[in-house]
C-alpha cells in the first residue's frame, strides 16, 4: 500500500429506473471524500450507505465475487462498459483512476436482449439460453475415459483456455453497436471446437447456438471490434473468425441443419 490516504470529490450521474416498464432517468449525486484506494463498487457502497441513512433508496447494482471472475457486476462508466481500464471488470476498477472534480456517468448495459431489472441491474438470462442451445459436450457423469487417454497439444489447450476465460458478463453485447453476442458465442464455440472432445458435436453446436442468438434478439456482427476492446478477459475477436469458419463448415460440410 502506498502511504497516506488520498481523497477526491466526484459527481455521479447515475441511471435510476424502477423496472423495465419505467422510463428511467439520470440522477446527479455529488460524492465527497472518496478514498482513492476504494474500488468503484466500494465507492457505490459508500454512496448507498449515505442514501440509506438519508431515507432514500440505494442504487441497485449486481455484484458478487468482487474479484473479477463471477461476471455478475458491470455497468457502462463514462460510455465504456466496465469503465476506462483495459481488461478489467467494474469491481476491479479503483477510484485512483479518477481525478478530483470528475463527473462520472454510470448506466446499465443497454441491449435489446437485456431488459433492465432495476437501476443498473439487467436481465442476462438470454446468455444462459444460448449456452443451453449447445454450449456443452454431451456426456454423462461416470462414462469418461482416463483423462490422459487423449493428449492435447499444449498450444491447443492454451488457445481453448484463452476462449474459456469468458465470464459471461455481457460487456461485449453492451459495447456492440448492434448488441451482438458474437464474441460470447464465438468464445464458447472456439473452446469446444478446438478440443478433441468437442469435435463430434461441433457442427450442430455452431448452427444451434447461432440460431438461438438470432431468436433472442441479439444483433449481427459487423466487425466493429468494440467487444474485444471492453472484454475484461481480453478475449480475442479471432474467436469470432473461428466461429464463422465452424459455421461455414457446418453449413456446407455437414448434414446438420
Amino acid at each position: 500500500m502506498k502511504q497516506g490516504i488520498n481523497t477526491i470529490n466526484i459527481t455521479l450521474k447515475v441511471w435510476r429506473q424502477k423496472g423495465h416498464k419505467d422510463k428511467g432517468r439520470f440522477e446527479t449525486i455529488p460524492v465527497r471524500d472518496v478514498e482513492t484506494h476504494m474500488s468503484f463498487l466500494e465507492m457505490l457502497d459508500v454512496v448507498n450507505e449515505r442514501l440509506t441513512l438519508e431515507g432514500k433508496e440505494p442504487i441497485e447494482f449486481d455484484n458478487d465475487c468482487r474479484e473479477g471472475i463471477c461476471g455478475m457486476c458491470g455497468a457502462v462508466v463514462n460510455g465504456i462498459a466496465h469503465g476506462p481500464e483495459k481488461g478489467m471488470t467494474l469491481c476491479q476498477l479503483h477510484m485512483r483512476k479518477f481525478s478530483d472534480g470528475d463527473t462520472i456517468a454510470v448506466e446499465p448495459w443497454r441491449a435489446r436482449a437485456f431488459k433492465v431489472v432495476k437501476d443498473l441491474i439487467v436481465d442476462r438470462s438470454s446468455l444462459d439460453k444460448i449456452i443451453q442451445a449447445g454450449g456443452f459436450i454431451s456426456m454423462i457423469a461416470g462414462g469418461a475415459p482416463d483423462a490422459n487417454a487423449i493428449p492435447i497439444p499444449q498450444e491447443i489447450a492454451e488457445k481453448a483456455m484463452d476462449a474459456a476465460a469468458c465470464i459471461g458478463c455481457g460487456a461485449c453485447v453492451a459495447a456492440c453497436p448492434n448488441a451482438s453476442a458474437m464474441l460470447f458465442v464465438g468464445a464458447k464455440i472456439s473452446q469446444l471446437a478446438l478440443l478433441p472432445q468437442g469435435k463430434p458435436e461441433a457442427a450442430k453446436r455452431a448452427l444451434s447456438m447461432l440460431r438461438e442468438m438470432d431468436e433472442l434478439g441479439f444483433g449481427n456482427c459487423s466487425n466493429e471490434t468494440e467487444c474485444e476492446a471492453v472484454c475484461p478477459k481480453e478475449i480475442s475477436i479471432a474467436n469470432i473468425a473461428l466461429f464463422n469458419r465452424e459455421f461455414l463448415k457446418a453449413g456446407f460440410g455437414s448434414s446438420e441443419k
Binding site: 500500500m1 502506498k2 502511504q3 424502477k18 478514498e35 476504494m38 474500488s39 463498487l41 466500494e42 457502497d45 448507498n48 450507505e49 442514501l51 441513512l53 432514500k56 440505494p58 441497485e60 449486481d62 458478487d64 465475487c65 468482487r66 474479484e67 473479477g68 471472475i69 463471477c70 461476471g71 455478475m72 478489467m88 476491479q92 479503483h94 431489472v117 432495476k118 441491474i121 436481465d123 442476462r124 438470462s125 444462459d128 449456452i131 443451453q132 454450449g135 456443452f136 459436450i137 457423469a141 461416470g142 469418461a144 475415459p145 482416463d146 483423462a147 490422459n148 487423449i150 493428449p151 492435447i152 499444449q154 489447450a157 483456455m161 474459456a164 476465460a165 465470464i167 478440443l195 468437442g198
Partner: protein
C-alpha cells in the same frame, strides 16, 4: 443422543464399493416419478443437478444469482487434487486420503475422507471429457503442481482459474439438462425455509428476488449445496451473497449443525486497507510454491523490503517447518503469520501483513516463467495495491476463506432429517478441522457427480413418490413466517445500516473467534453478539419495499441469521476444549505453540440441535472411530 454416521462395514478401501452394491435402487422407469430440489449451483449443486437429471430424476434447481454460472466456486484459483500419480512421485489413493485426514487434524470421518480420495480420479476424467482446458505439458498430457500439506504434486489446474473452469464444466452439463427439460432452473431465488411433512423434507419456500413474491416448491427430497458461512466475519474472501441462510433455516427445522467452530483462515490474502472495505481478495496458495514468506527480524523495522538485507530477514515458515517450509498447511501458516505480527514484526501501514517474496525465483527461473504461472494473480495484486510484485514483495495477511463445519450428514450425505441431503462446503464431513488446498473443488464435485447420484437412490427407493403438493398447509405456514420476518425488518426503521451492523459482528468474530480463541474472549463474544442482536432488532434500517428488487432487504435477512448463527459458532468453540486444525484454543497448546489435540475427550463431531430462540442449543455427539489410521501429532517440521 449419540449420532450414527451409518458407515458401512468392511475394509476401509472396500466400504464404498460394498455400499454401492448394498444400496437399494430406483429402476430407470421409476426415476421419472421422483422430484428432487437442489439449492445452489456451485460445484456441488451444479454437478448434482446435472448428474441427477442425467439419471432421469426431475430436478428443480435454485440459485441466488442471476445465472447458475456465478456461484462462488467460480473464484477458486489454485486447483483440484486427485490421486492420479501422473508425475510418478509416489501418490496413491491412500496417500491422498492420509494427507487429507491428517491435514484435517483427525477430526473428519475416516470413511468419508477415504471415499473422497477414491473418487478423485473420476473427477479429472469427467472434467476433461466436458472440455475443461486443464494445463498440459508439451507432450499434451496433464500438468500438476504442488499445494500445501502434501509432498507430492497432485494438483490439476487451469491457470489461476481452476474453479471457474470446473464450474463452467458443471454449468454446461446443467445447461444441457435444462435444455432437455430434466432440470427446471430458478435463478434469483433465495431459500427462506425448508418444509417438512411428517418429519421428512418435502420442499422449500423461496422468495423471487425480482418480484419479492414467495413460491412453494414440493419434492421427494431436498439437496442443499449452499456453501459456507465465512461471511460471518463480514470481511472474507467469499462473494458478497454467500450466507448461512439456507443451512440455518434447515437447522431451525431440526437439522443438526456440526462443528461450526471449524473455520479456515487462509494465509495468503491481500491485507485489509480501510473502513469502506467490502471484501478481502485471496492470492492463490499456489504462490507459496515459489514465493518465500518473511518478516524483518527486528520489530518495527520500517525500511522498504528491498532495503532490508538478507541477514535481517526471518523466513519464519522455512525456519519453523523445514520439511514443508512455505508449503505448511493453511492453519499452521496463518497462525504463524499472526504470531509474527502480534510480536510487532508485521509490515505495511497497519502492521498486519507479511511479505511473500518472489525475488529468488525470478532470479532462478526468469520473469517469463513466473509471469506465465502467476501472471493474472500478479496483475490483480498490482491493480488493488498499486505496487508491482515483480519488483517489490507482495504483502499478505490471513483472511476468512472456507468453513469446514456445516450441517451434519451421514455416510449417505443425508442429514438427520429424512430426505434432506447436504453437499459440498455446506456439510461438515470430509475436511475435519482444517481443509487442505485444492480439496474443496474435489469435494464439491465428488459429492455432486459421484456420491449423491447413488445415495439418494437408496433413500428414494424406500419412499413412495410424494403426494404432498405445494398447497399443503406446511408450505403456507412457512410462507407466512417468512413474510412476517420480512415485514418486521422493514418496520424497524432505525438508525444503523445492515452493513454497519454486519461489520461490527465481523469484528467481534474475528477478534474472539478467529485464528486464536480463549475461554474469556469467547464468553465475552457471546455477550457482545447478544447485545448486537438486540441492537439489530431495534435499530437497523432497511430502505425500500418487499415488492421489487431490494438488496438491502436480502442482506438484512442474511445478517439476522448470521447474528444468531454467530452465537452457535462461539458456543461450539467454547465447548471444544482442545486445539485442532483451524480451531486454536490458546489454553491448549504445546510448548512450541502448536495445537494440542485432546483425543481422549474430543475425538468427536459436535452436532448441535436448535433449542429455540435465545435458548442454548442441544449438544449431540458422533464419536470419530479410526479403524485404519493411527492418530498422530500433526507435525510439518
Amino acid at each position: 443422543m449419540q449420532l450414527d454416521g451409518k458407515v458401512p462395514g468392511g475394509q476401509l478401501s472396500e466400504k464404498w464399493d460394498r455400499h454401492r452394491f448394498e444400496l437399494k435402487m430406483v429402476n430407470p422407469a421409476n426415476k421419472r416419478k421422483y422430484h428432487i430440489i437442489v439449492v445452489g449451483t456451485g460445484l456441488a449443486g451444479g454437478s448434482s443437478s446435472a448428474a441427477l437429471a442425467e439419471l432421469g430424476y426431475n430436478v428443480k434447481t435454485f440459485c441466488i444469482q442471476d445465472s447458475p454460472r456465478r456461484a462462488h466456486s467460480i473464484a477458486a484459483q489454485g486447483g483440484i487434487n486427485a490421486a492420479k500419480n501422473y508425475p510418478n512421485d509416489g501418490d496413491s489413493i491412500w496417500r491422498l486420503f492420509y494427507d487429507t485426514i491428517k491435514g484435517g487434524d483427525f477430526r473428519s470421518r475416516e470413511a468419508n475422507t477415504y471415499r473422497l480420495a477414491q473418487v478423485s480420479n473420476n473427477i479429472i476424467d469427467q472434467c476433461v471429457a466436458q472440455g475443461v482446458p486443464f494445463a498440459r505439458d508439451y507432450g499434451g498430457l496433464l500438468a500438476n503442481r504442488s499445494f500445501g500439506g502434501a509432498q507430492v504434486s497432485r494438483t490439476f489446474y487451469a491457470r489461476g482459474q481452476t474453479g471457474q473452469q470446473l464450474l463452467l464444466g458443471a454449468y454446461s452439463s446443467l445447461s444441457r439438462q435444462i435444455a432437455a427439460g430434466k432440470v427446471k432452473m430458478f435463478p434469483r431465488r433465495e431459500m427462506l425455509d425448508l418444509v417438512l411433512v411428517n418429519g421428512q423434507a418435502k420442499g422449500i419456500v423461496v422468495r423471487n428476488l425480482i418480484t419479492g413474491e414467495f413460491e412453494s416448491h414440493e419434492a421427494d427430497a431436498v439437496v442443499l449445496a449452499t456453501g459456507g458461512y465465512g461471511n460471518v466475519y463480514y470481511l472474507s474472501t467469499n462473494a458478497t451473497s454467500c450466507n448461512v441462510g439456507a443451512a440455518f433455516r434447515a437447522y431451525k427445522k431440526g437439522a443438526f449443525f456440526a462443528n461450526p467452530c471449524f473455520t479456515q483462515i487462509h494465509p495468503t490474502c491481500i491485507p485489509h486497507s480501510g473502513e469502506y472495505q467490502s471484501k478481502l481478495t485471496l492470492m492463490s496458495e499456489s504462490l507459496r510454491n515459489d514465493g518465500r514468506v518473511w518478516v524483518p527480524k527486528n520489530p518495527g523495522d520500517k525500511r522498504r523490503p528491498n532495503d532490508i538485507p538478507e541477514s535481517e530477514r526471518d523466513y519464519f515458515l522455512e525456519r519453523k517447518y523445514p520439511s514443508y517450509g512455505n508449503l505448511a498447511p493453511r492453519d499452521v501458516a496463518s497462525r504463524s503469520t499472526k504470531e509474527e505480527c502480534d510480536a510487532g514484526k508485521g509490515v505495511g501501514t497497519t502492521g498486519y501483513a507479511v511479505y511473500l517474496d518472489f525475488n529468488d525465483v525470478i532470479e532462478r527461473d526468469g520473469i517469463d516463467t513466473i509471469s506465465k504461472k502467476y501472471g493474472n494473480l500478479f496483475d490483480m495484486y498490482k491493480n488493488i495495491i498499486d505496487e508491482n510484485p515483480y519488483e517489490t514483495p507482495m504483502m499478505i495477511y490471513p483472511a476468512s476463506h472456507y468453513t469446514m463445519g456445516g450441517l451434519w450428514v451421514d455416510y449417505n450425505l443425508m442429514s438427520n432429517i429424512d430426505g434432506l441431503f447436504v453437499l459440498g462446503e455446506a456439510n461438515f464431513s470430509d475436511h475435519g478441522a482444517n481443509r487442505l488446498g485444492a480439496s474443496a473443488l474435489m469435494q464439491g464435485l465428488a459429492d455432486g457427480y459421484f456420491i449423491i447420484p447413488y445415495t439418494i437412490g437408496g433413500y428414494l427407493a424406500g419412499t413412495a413418490p410424494s403426494e404432498v403438493s405445494a398447497d399443503h398447509p406446511a408450505f403456507n405456514e412457512a410462507t407466512q413466517a417468512a413474510d412476517e420476518r420480512i415485514k418486521k425488518l422493514l418496520a424497524i426503521k432505525g438508525k444503523r445500516t445492515v452493513d454497519n451492523i454486519h461489520r461490527e459482528l465481523g469484528q467481534i468474530m474475528w477478534k474472539y473467534c478467529g485464528m486464536a480463541r480463549n475461554k474469556e474472549g469467547l464468553n465475552k463474544a457471546i455477550k457482545l453478539i447478544q447485545e448486537l442482536r438486540e441492537e439489530f432488532r431495534e435499530n437497523v434500517t432497511v430502505p425500500g419495499s418487499d415488492s421489487d428488487y431490494n438488496l438491502s432487504l436480502q442482506k438484512a435477512g442474511r445478517v439476522a441469521d448470521f447474528l444468531e448463527f454467530a452465537e452457535l459458532m462461539v458456543t461450539d468453540a467454547l465447548a471444544r476444549e482442545e486445539s485442532c486444525g483451524g480451531h486454536f484454543r490458546e489454553e491448549y497448546q504445546t510448548e512450541e505453540g502448536e495445537a494440542k489435540r485432546d483425543d481422549e475427550d474430543f475425538c468427536h463431531v459436535a452436532a448441535w440441535e436448535y433449542g429455540g430462540y435465545g435458548k442454548a442449543p442441544i449438544f449431540h455427539k458422533e464419536p470419530l472411530v479410526f479403524e485404519s489410521v493411527e492418530l498422530t501429532t500433526r507435525s510439518y517440521k
